[in-house]
Structure formats: C-alpha cells, structure tokens
C-alpha cells in the first residue's frame, strides 16, 4: 500500500478565518472557509452519495481509495473529499477523476479500523465542495476544491410549507416501516431545519445516484426541499404499494406456513412411529432390490419398474403411496415363473387314489386316464374336471388326492355365494381398497403357477346385476384364452394354462351350459351301504377314534353297528353324517373310559340306542302291502336317491284330477298324461270308462312339504292310477321309474344308480326301469345288482304287466301311511330328475 504523506495541512488558516467572522453563522457551516480553495485527497464513491450532516459507514477496499483515506488520516484534521462516480462509468474497477461528478461532500473521518478486506471508516459529511482543479490521479486522487455555501432560502414560506408536508409524509412512511431504529425516527421527526431534513432523506431513500446528485447540487433550499418532497412522495407511494402486496403475500405465506408446520408435525409423528422418511426411502430401495432379484416376465418387469419410479417420486404421505407399494409387493409375491416339479407316476397315482378313497372305481379310472394323457404329453392343456355328486361323497378330497398324485400344490376356493365378477377378477386399482380377484389370490397362496386349483360349489355361483361370475369363469376355464388372464387389479397377463382346474358341484343344472361345456364331467353317485361300511371301517372309525383321544384297542365298533348307524341314524348319499355320528359314539365311549367305567368298549348294533338314543330315521321301507291306487316310485335328490309313494284315490261325484304334494309343472303334466293315456286305453286294460266321468281322482305324493318335480315319476303315476281304476294292486316289492309319453312309450331317466341304491336300501327287490337305461346298470355295485330283479320296459303296457298284481277281489280302502316311520323333520329339497 502506498504511503501517502501529505504535508502542509490545507486548513491551517482556518482559525484565522474563524476569528475574522464574529458571527456564529460562519463557523456553523465552515470547516474550511467558503470560496477559499484548498487541496484535499479525493475518495470515489460507487453508487452512493454522502450529504452534509450525515454519518455514513464506508468499507474501503480498492487501492486508490485506501491510499486516499491513508492520505487524509495523515493530515491533522482528517478531511477527505467524497465524490460520486457518474452512474454511466460506475463499471470501472478503479474510477479515475474523469469518471466523477464535480460536486461532492467534504467529510471528516471520525473513526477508522482495519479489517481483512481493507478498512472500515465512519465518515461525517460536513459541507459541499466543488472541484476546482485536479492535481493528481495516483496513488490517490487529489484535487483543489472550494467549499460551496449552504443552499440559501429564496421563499421562506414556500420552504416551510414544503417542509411541513415532508414531515407529514415521513410520519406516514414511518408507519409503514416498523424496523426503523428509534434514533433515526427521532432524528427525522425532530429535525427542524429544512435543508438538513432534505439531505437526510436523500441519503436514506433509495433514489439512485443521479437523483441524489441532483439534490446535492441544489443551490437553493427551495429546489432542494421540492426535490426531496417529490422523491419522498414517489417512494411513499411505492412503499404503500409494497406494503399492500406484502400484506397480501403474508396471507399466502400464512397458509403455506401453516401447511409447512403441519407437515413438520406429521413428519415428527411418523418419526415416532418409525415411519420416517429414511425408513420410507429404505423401503423403496428394498423393493427395488427385490424387484431386481425376482424372476419376472419382461412385461411385468417393465410395469413394475414404472410403478417403482412413481413410488420413489411420491411422498410417503400421499394416498397413492401405499396403493403402489401394496401393488408392487403383490407382484413380487406372485409365482410368475415358478412352478412345482410335476412328477407323475401312474402306479403311484393309482396307489394314492386307492389309499385316499374306497370305491369310486369308475371315477378313479377316469382320473387316471386324464393323468395318463398328461404324462404322455406334458405340454397338453390340462383338462378341467367337474365332479358332480351329493355332499360328502369325497369330491374335495379327490381333488386333494389328484394334487398329491401329481405332486403339485393344492388350493381350494369356494365359489358358493360369489355373485360379483370382481370377486374372481379383482377390482381396478383406482378403487379404494382394491384387491386382486380370488383366482390370483389362490395362486399367490399356492406359491407356484401350476397348482391344482379346486373351484368348489361351482353350481352355487350367484348372478345378479353386479355381474355374472360365471361369465368370468368362462375366460378363466378356457384353455385357449387363459394363458393371458388379466386380473383387473394386476392389469398384467398371468398364465393360468398350467393350472389343473377341478370344479365340484352338487347339481349340473344350475351350471350355465357354456361353462359345463368347458369341463369334463365326472359323476360321483352316493355310496351303497356296503361301500359306506367299508369307508367307515377303513377311514372314518379309525379317524374318529384317534380324534377323540382313543386308540384302536379301547374302542371297537362292529360292522353291525356301522350298518345300523348308516341306515337308522343317518340319511345321506355321502358319509359325512356317518362320520359325525361315529364321532359322537366315540365321544361317549371316551367319557366312559375317562371316568374309568370301562377300559375297552365294543359297540354293537344293539348298543346304539344307549349311545345315540332312538333311531332318527326310518328309511322309507317298502310297504308290506299296498292298497289299490298306491305305487312305489324312486326319486333322485341331492342327497342321493329316495323311495317315494304315489297315492291316488277316487272321489265319487268329483271331477277331474286333483294333484297335491308340491308337485312341479312337469310332474303335474306327466300325471295328466298318465290319466289321459289310461282313459284312452281304458278298454285295453279292462277299465270301465264311465269311471273317468263319474269319479274325480286325487293324486298325492308324500311328503307334502317337499317340492318335487321331474318327468321320471310318469311310470309310477300311471301304475298308481291303473291300480286305482282296475282295482289290481301294485306289487309292494316293486319300485319303478321312467318317463312316459301319451302314446305309451317309456323314456329313459337319470340318476339310475342313486335310485336303485335307495330302492335297495328300502328293501325293494324288483325294479322296473326304462330299457334305454340298461347301460346305467353298470354303475350299480355288483353285490347290490345280484340281489335285485331288474325289469327293463319300453312301453306302459309292459310296466303295468310287471307292476300290477293279477287280481284283487275287493280293493281295500286306502290305508293311512301306517308302514312309514318318521321322516327327517327338516324339509329337504327333493327334485325328481327325469
């Protein structure tokens, strides 16, 4: 730094001047005498004007400025000229004399301290100066300057008026500036001198160098005050506008701030709950890693990546965040490409099926056929099997056995009561609480993409305005389409074609034909008493024994007891009730043993009354004697088969045909057809045709509370009516079934096995069947068939020949239902199938 040493202090003659001027007026304004030029160091001011009678802190950093201050400090009076750089030249890094205005302010340096950047000084403006002559540029500028007189007042009143106005405006301005230091406030309001006030305003208002310079150069108080007034008025307006904007912005801010505070609080709460952002970030990171590792098809990976990107952009508080996260997790859990090794050994499969199920020979045979095809052509589309049969015959457990035989996962889903298509196919993700459909959920549970998937109770699907789930099943069960099954939730194709679908139903009827068409139907009829005995001996009794805490030595149930339970305590085609009843016997025995009343118990048929009370069912036994007008028929129900009686009686003086017993349309029509046939062939059968005119007929089918329908009772109704009209009784050991036509033909019916088994159970030994049902006899277990006399007929004449006794002299009155015992009090749906 250049060392500025200036001797010859310029103001030596000042005291003399002071002495010369006796009035205080002079000295008040003069550090130097006006009009007497002297030489002084000059400091260039960038973007700043210093007015007289103001104190300004200045930072000094440029070499020339530092040199100027050093030079001023080297004088006894520490005086310095400060001149502003013209605004159009202010870019210069170190302004020279040509860049400065000519008028500036003489300042006295009150304080100085050195700082890292150079110096800081506090300068007090004293009076205005004008440059008379430039003396030096470097190391600092020097000039000969003259003191300018204080602006003089021309029109005192005008100045005073403007000053008062100024003060009023300052009051207004201060109201808008809450942060003005009190000393400034006092100084401004207390200022009585118009010139001082104007100079101060000039220095505190942000006017720009040009305007400030104009004020500094003003030579009259009038001009100075009016400039100050104009500038303050403009500033005030801007300030008011600014404050208005600011207050509007404040309202905005308040809302933003409130949101911010709430968000901070939420973050704090999340942190407390262990859900803070770092946790969330780690979570998305974890998801990303899992996605990278997961085996996914390309299309799925692309979608998952897209969703993951969305997730990373979302704050955890966003409602979509969890939706996307759940979705991604679900994608990760689905076995897109994971399948279980299919091992298929037919001999082993046979062994497993035999081990799990007794009987059902034909069913097992058909299952094995399908498995054989799969073994020969592994890429073949798996067949879709439909097991139809009464409850408790083992449909579900057959499915389980198939899965075991194939070595695949088994998953079961019940379709009973499903009435919304969305339950199968899921909801679109846009819905709140959307979930994938049951199919996809079952696959996720299975963990592999080729499980054995059992669709239970497919005949109990609902169907209403919300959609038809059966229609969704059409796609799911179509091997041509289901390799790109799209669940609404996933919205990605999933290959269902590797799944081995098995459906179960109690009835075929309610299943829509297109759906039935996609499946291979396998019927499971009920079990015969002998089969039930075997099943009970092999599976049910041992299972119930152990389940009730007993061992084989402690409880023995004789065959006789099992048969009695099956016939007198249960009534079903399957074995569920049988098992339950054996279970209750086992519990009673367990109680005895636990109370140490016995060590081992053998239950025989005779003991059952003690364990189970009186028999709950008397099977519809063949009546020992049938009065004329009563015939034994057979019905198919969901529970298997049943024997039913059709009773007809003559109503003297009555008319037409009265039909009771909850008969459906079809059955009523077949009753009318039977009567018409007999009427038209009256002579043939030796019936007096006047009987049709003179007597009405009442036809009743017990039990009256159970609805019955179907054409298969046609043959039985005809026999009953023929018996009534001819007086020849129907043979009580004979049961019959078959649809009739008006021309006297007998048509085939369904459910032969169940019906025959029921009749056999009831003690019937002669059965009349339509000849076209002869093939169905194959289904009837050998042992049962041997005990039966089956008569195949193709016309009504043959039926009557076989059914009616040869002659009865006096037809006894229709007897009350003497031979029948109590029925199951629970009304069961009984549908007679044709």
């Amino acid at each position: 730094m250049p060392e500025p040493i200036e001797n010859a202090p310029p103001a030596t003659e000042t005291p003399a001047a002071g002495q010369q001027t006796p009035a205080s007026e002079d000295l008040r304004f003069a550090t130097q005498t006006p009009g007497q030029p002297f030489e002084v160091a000059v400091l260039a001011l960038q973007n700043l004007t210093i007015f007289p009678e103001t104190v300004v802190p200045l930072g000094i950093g440029r070499p020339r400025s530092l040199a100027a201050v050093e030079a001023a400090l080297a004088t006894p009076e520490k005086l310095l000229s400060c001149i502003t750089v013209r605004p159009d030249r202010s870019d210069d890094t170190d302004a020279g004399s040509k860049d400065l205005y000519e008028v500036g302010t003489l300042v006295m340096i009150k304080r100085m301290e050195r700082v890292a950047e150079g110096m800081r000084i506090i300068a007090q403006g004293t009076e205005r100066i004008r440059v008379v002559e430039w003396k030096q540029e470097d190391p600092h500028m020097r000039a000969v300057v003259e003191i300018l007189p204080e602006p003089r007042t021309v029109d005192a009143e005008q100045v005073e008026a403007t000053k008062r106005n100024l003060q009023q405006m300052i009051q207004d301005a201060l109201a808008l500036l809450p942060n003005v230091p009190p000393e400034v406030r006092i100084a401004v309001l207390g200022s009585v001198d118009a010139v001082r006030l104007s100079y101060f305003l000039g220095s505190i208002l942000n006017l720009g160098v040009e305007e400030e310079q104009r004020m500094l150069e003003a030579n009259t108080a009038d001009e100075l005050v009016s400039l100050a007034h104009a500038n303050l008025a403009r500033e005030l307006e801007i300030m008011q506008l600014r404050s208005k904007i600011a207050s509007e912005a404040q309202t905005e801010m308040d809302k933003a701030q409130r949101d911010y505070v709430l968000r901070q609080q939420m973050r704090a709460i999340q942190k407390e709950l262990g859900e803070d952002e770092t946790g969330e970030a780690a979570e998305t990171e974890l998801l990303r890693e899992r996605l990278e590792k997961a085996e996914l098809p390309d299309e799925v990976r692309a979608e998952a990546d897209r969703e993951l990107k969305r997730l990373q952009r979302l704050p955890p508080a966003a409602p979509d965040y969890h939706v996307i996260r759940t979705y991604l997790e679900f994608i990760l859990e689905l076995p897109w490409l994971k399948s279980s090794e299919s091992k298929l050994d037919l001999a082993e499969a046979r062994r497993i099926l035999d081990e799990d199920h007794y009987g059902l020979e034909d069913v097992k045979e058909r299952i094995l056929e399908f498995l054989a095809v799969i073994k020969l052509r592994p890429d073949t589309k798996s067949p879709i099997l439909l097991f139809v049969g009464p409850p408790g015959v083992g449909k579900t457990s057959l499915g389980r056995s198939i899965a075991r035989a194939l070595g695949r996962q088994f998953e079961r889903m019940s379709l009973g009561g499903v009435r919304d298509e969305a339950e199968l196919r899921g909801h679109r993700r846009t819905y709140i609480g959307a979930m994938p459909g049951r199919i996809i959920q079952s696959i996720r549970r299975a963990g592999v993409n080729n499980p054995v998937l059992m669709l239970d109770e497919i005949d109990k699907l609902g169907n209403d305005y919300r959609g038809d789930p059966a229609a969704a099943l059409l796609e799911i069960l179509d091997p041509q389409q289901n390799n790109t099954f799209r669940d609404h939730y996933l919205d990605l194709p999933f290959d269902l074609s590797k799944i081995f679908f098995i459906a179960t139903a109690n009835q075929l009827g309610p299943i829509p034909p297109p759906l039935r068409d996609r499946m291979e139907t396998i019927r499971l009829a009920g079990y015969s008493d002998r089969e039930k005995l075997e099943i009970a001996r092999r599976y049910l009794a041992p299972r119930q024994t152990t389940e009730n805490g007993l061992n084989n030595a402690q409880l023995k149930i004789t065959d006789d007891a099992i048969e009695t339970i099956a016939s007198l305590y249960t009534r079903e085609a399957g074995v569920r009730q049988l098992e339950r009843t054996i279970g209750s016997v086992a519990r009673k025995v367990a109680l005895k043993i636990a109370q140490a009343q016995a060590e081992t118990v053998t239950v025989t048929g005779n003991d059952l009354r003690d364990y189970l009370g009186p028999p709950r069912f008397y099977p519809e036994q063949a009546r020992k004697e049938l009065p004329a007008g009563v015939a034994t028929g057979m019905a198919w129900t969901e529970m298997g088969g049943e024997v039913l009686f059709i009773e007809a009686t003559l109503l003297p003086g009555g008319r037409g045909l009265t039909i009771t017993g909850q008969l459906g349309e079809v059955m009523q029509e077949s009753a009318r057809a039977a009567q018409s046939y007999l009427w038209s062939h009256a002579a043939e059968f030796g019936i007096d045709s006047s009987i049709f005119k003179d007597f009405g007929v009442h036809l009743h089918v017990p039990a009256g509370a159970i609805p019955k329908d179907g054409p298969s009772a046609g043959v039985t109704i005809t026999s009953a009516l023929a018996s009534l009209y001819t007086g020849r009784r129907v043979r009580p050991d004979t049961a019959m079934t078959g649809e009739i036509t008006l021309s006297g033909l007998v048509f085939p019916i369904g459910g032969v096995k169940e019906k025959v088994l029921a009749a056999h159970r009831a003690g019937i030994r002669r059965i009349i069947l339509p000849s076209r049902n002869e093939a169905d006899v194959e289904d009837i277990p050998e042992d049962v068939r041997h005990e039966l006399q089956l008569i195949f007929v193709s016309g009504i004449a043959e039926v009557l020949d076989a059914a009616l006794e040869v002659l009865v002299a006096n037809p006894p009155p229709i007897m009350a239902d003497a031979a029948r015992g109590g029925r199951n009090p629970e009304p069961e749906p009984l549908t007679v199938k044709g």
Binding site: G18, S24, T54, E77, M108
Partner: protein
Amino acid sequence: MRNTDREFSLIRTDRRVVPSGRLWNPAADVYRVADGWVVKVDLAGVCSDELEIELHDSFLSIRGCRKDTHYREGFVYHQMEITYSRFEKSIQFPDRIEGASIRQDYRDGFLIINLRSEQG
C-alpha cells in the same frame, strides 16, 4: 475496538446513514459557584492558542479545532477513534452575565473556564 464494532453494527442494522450535526460538539459540565460559574469542557488535546471563547449576553461560545498533532512522517494509522475536528460549544446561562472575568485553564485534560464576578 469493541466500541467501534458496536457502532458499525448499530448503524448497519437498518439505514446505513444517520444524521449528525455538522461539527463536533464536546461534552461540558457547568457548576454554579458563589460568585459566578465554572464550566468544564471535555476537550483534551486542544492547544489554547486555537481556542476562541466568547461571552455574549447569556451565551458562552467555545470554538476551535482539535488537530492531530502527534502524527509524524512514517506513522501509519492502524486505528482511529479520536475525533479531530472543528468544534463549537454553545452554553446558555439563565441570566445575562455581565462584568465577569474569563479565566481559562487546563487541568487533567479538561478545559476549565471560570466566569467570576469582578465585584465578588
């Protein structure tokens, strides 16, 4: 140094500029004594030759200029906190002061001015 800091920061908090008088106004105490007044002015370092004291009616004016007389060639200022300036101190008394003799004196850096009645 601390003082300086405080002054700088105080000024800089808001407007950087504060108004001031044009001249330095040194502090003064005024004592009333039995036969007149004693005025003590905090005015060290001022040579009495450069001091102008004037009594006019009830006003006492003290004017002058404090200059830095210690500065020598080769000195470099490191810090400056003392004000060197022209000054003017004007003191008004309750009454017109007439016939008083003015005596000035420096004691311990204070300028002492005695205004005593000549009759007293």
